[in-house]
């Protein structure tokens, strides 16, 4: 199995991305079943790899049979398999939510089996791109898969029509600038070392004496990936993209897209470039920008009236939190950052699936529209409440433990950076309390106003369900996962999160 799973993990999504549109074009029937089966197979491959790596150690896989640095290698360790499971798992929920179609999302064009098949293909392509980024050990290959995931994401965002098209174009400009900056940085690295393989780079970089050129390379790569990871103040593309995307897309992108770029940032800055002087400085800057992002994202989330936009700003705050962990760089901090990636992906996916569905079925995106919903749909709203509590950081949800690890890490880090990180994390919880309690108060303690379809409209039609089933199932399942991750936080941290050993430590250990 160890020999086959890495290849399957990267091949299956690309196979599906062509197969599903082909079926849709030829048969003109719905492609729901093949697409869901493919997503399930991808998740199974990711889980299998995760188990295999946990049982028998990391896997190096030479695609094409050419070992690195001549060929392209894949590298699966605890970190990459964890993110792969996260991506593949949430993709299953997104694929399930795609059966919801555009629903009553405003301005979305009518769905046909062909269009549905194309969108399913685009989701598979997005998953393939993200898994490619996670798996690769080659800096140029990372760029290629970054662009695959980006183009698929622009497509899925733009499928919302209307304003989503404009959001997608702005996302495309930002994403392409990010990709080009990254590639320029890779060019500098290649000119200095002559290699593209991450292990080879890490081995050859310490002997490179061109400090200025190396600094330029590190900065270009860091800025490029930070744009994709929505690190403050490079987050400009994020709010509109999340708000105007169709609901299944918004749930998936908000859950994992930026986090995969944060993962790439961690891989490159924390491991490959960690031995360089510039790498350490850039990590410090990342920490401070993370602090700024946590605070700014939180404050702007409080200022929003629309719930999806509030969630988008809260994501910027959360990405800041993850990058604080990456910037601190200690084993404990990375544990916290990874825990927060998982906790936030589960909770934010849940919230976006829920908020998007409620926006579409009730035609409202503000707190008033949510008034009294708790009485009408207690289960789904309870699930959304669990996710919101996780965002605030209330035990026993997963969000509490990620903040706990990050706070502990900031205490051990100490100094002005540690103090700032500590204060920012506490402040973010307070701000999250403010903006989520507003909503929760309306949901559970207010009676519904005269929402348009509170009891079926005047024509006597059935009342619209608060959440259609294709969205309600992911919402409840993700909330359960948030709770389970929190309740079993200790085993999760011990057995699921990888032991992080920073590249600096490894390189100094290897050099006698």
């Amino acid at each position: 199995m160890r020999d086959v799973l890495p290849g399957l993990l990267v091949a299956l999504p690309l196979l599906g991305a062509a197969l599903v549109p082909l079926l849709a074009a030829l048969s003109r029937r719905t492609t729901r079943v093949p697409a869901l089966a493919l997503h399930a197979a991808i998740l199974a491959a990711a889980l299998g790899l995760f188990g295999s790596v946990a049982a028998a150690g990391p896997i190096r896989y030479a695609v094409g049979g050419w070992p690195g640095p001549w060929g392209i290698e894949l590298w699966f360790d605890g970190l990459s398999t964890l993110i792969a499971v996260l991506v593949a798992g949430i993709a299953c929920f997104a694929a399930f939510a795609q059966t919801f179609g555009p629903g009553r999302d405003e301005a979305a064009p009518a769905s046909t089996p062909l269009r549905e098949g194309l969108l399913r293909g685009a989701l598979l392509l997005l998953v393939g791109g993200l898994l490619g980024i996670v798996a690769t050990r080659d800096v140029f290959n990372l760029f290629v898969f970054l662009e695959i995931s980006s183009l698929a994401a622009y497509t899925l965002v733009a499928s919302g029509g209307g304003r989503a098209t404009v959001a997608a174009f702005r996302y495309l400009l930002a994403g392409t600038a990010a990709g080009s900056l990254y590639l320029f940085g890779v060019g500098f690295l290649y000119a200095l070392t002559g290699t593209l393989n991450m292990d080879d780079l890490a081995a050859r970089l310490p002997s490179v004496e061109a400090d200025a050129a190396l600094t330029v390379a590190v900065v270009l790569i860091a800025v490029g990936l930070s744009i994709k990871a929505a690190l403050f103040p490079l987050h400009g593309w994020l709010p509109d993209t999340y708000v105007y995307s169709p609901t299944p897309t918004a749930g998936f992108i908000a859950a994992v897209m930026a986090k995969v770029s944060a993962y790439a940032l961690l891989r490159l800055l924390g491991e490959v470039l960690a031995g360089t002087a510039a790498g350490a400085v850039v990590l410090d800057i990342t920490l401070w920008l993370g602090v700024a992002g946590v605070v700014a994202g939180g404050i702007l989330a409080v200022a929003q009236r629309a719930i999806t936009r509030m969630l988008a700003w809260s994501s910027i705050s959360a990405m800041g939190m993850i990058l604080i962990g990456v910037g601190m760089g200690s084993a404990l901090a990375i544990t916290g950052a990874l825990f927060h990636m998982a906790a936030h992906a589960l909770a934010k996916g849940c919230l976006f699936f829920g908020a998007g569905g409620i926006r579409a079925s009730r035609r409202g995106d503000d707190v008033e529209g949510w008034a009294g919903l708790g009485a009408r749909a207690p289960w789904t709203l309870a699930a959304l409440t669990v996710a919101a509590l996780s965002m605030i950081g209330i035990p026993p949800t997963a969000g509490f433990f990620s903040k706990y690890y990050l706070l502990s890490a900031s205490i051990t880090t100490g100094g002005p950076a540690g103090i700032a990180a500590f204060a920012a994390i506490i402040l973010s919880s307070l701000l999250a309390t403010v903006y989520f309690l507003r909503v929760l108060e309306a949901v559970w303690f207010r009676t519904p106003g005269d929402a348009p379809d509170a009891s079926g409209d005047s024509a006597g039609r059935q009342p619209v369900p608060v959440l259609p089933r294709p969205l309600a199932v992911p919402v409840v399942a993700l909330a359960v996962l948030v709770l389970l991750t929190g309740i079993f936080a200790r085993p999760f941290e011990r057995h699921v999160l990888p032991d992080w050993e920073s590249g600096t430590a490894r390189i100094t250990a290897e050099a006698p």
Binding site: F140, F143, V144, E147, L151, Y154, T155, A158, G161, G162, R163, T165, V166, A168, F169, L172, L173, T176, A177, G179, S180, L183, F184, G187, Y190, A191
Partner: protein, 114 residues
């Protein structure tokens, strides 16, 4: 060195155009300039004095000094395809924006969205 600086200038022009031009189509053209800059940079890394194009001719075993480095050319073939694809998708988006909002001016578009 001159050609490196040329790539840097193109890159700066492109990215500045993306940020500063008011028209979305022009932003897209500037984006292309930026991408071409990276391609120029990579291809110039492949150049080797006294070497020829990396295609084997007749004759004995090839020696590394005789041919240019094929790797950057390969990478840039991929980068060109990425650039073409991004441009194609962006044009599709612009056509849609044009018919829906009847403007490609960024400020006016943002006003209409408000």
């Amino acid at each position: 060195m001159t050609i490196y600086a040329f790539a840097a200038a193109l890159f700066t022009l492109g990215i500045a155009g993306m940020a500063l031009l008011p028209n979305l189509l022009r932003k897209l053209l500037a984006m292309n300039v930026m991408q071409v800059a990276v391609i120029v940079f990579f291809v110039s890394l492949a150049f080797k004095d006294g070497a020829t194009v990396p295609i084997l001719g007749q004759g004995g075993a090839p020696r590394a000094a005789e041919f240019m480095n094929p790797l950057p050319h390969t990478l840039m073939l991929t980068a060109i395809v990425v650039s073409v694809s991004t441009t194609g998708l962006a044009l599709g988006l612009l056509v849609r924006i044009r018919s829906r909002f009847r403007t490609l001016n960024e400020q006016r578009l943002l006003d209409r969205l408000r």
